[in-house]
Amino acid sequence: MDQQKHELINTIREIEFAAIELQLYLDTHPCDQRAIIDYNGYVQQLELTKRSYEAKFGSLLNFGNAPSQLYAWQWADDLWPWDMEK
């Protein structure tokens, strides 16, 4: 996998994990404002990172989550799960 693509997808995984951890924490601590601020920060960061991935490498998800480049439909171009290195 292309180095930049690999790094970006790993960054998405990392931020997504942090957001899930804070979501679980907030389930039992719904009034913790510091945690809410951090959670919102990760959500925003995740959104931006996903957008930047999709602009360069195509959709992360199908069904209307991201537009395709005009020259061709990209969804099926990506690696299949068994093609992933990691």
Partner: protein, 68 residues
Amino acid sequence: MYVDVDSTNHHEMCVPSSIASCTYEYAKAYIPSQQYATTYDVKQALEKGTLFPELYKPYHEEFCEPRR
């Protein structure tokens, strides 16, 4: 269910005030309320499997070897 714990009191970090102030009952499980303190950076968190340093409990294989 949501217990506010005074984070300046180190004893109460382990025992929520609502539990500390009453007598423990038998055959009941108590879970101290987690305090929001420092977190790992996102890269470390994914590697360690938790965002929270206080919840990082790595598994050490040597503790679980069968007795001979």
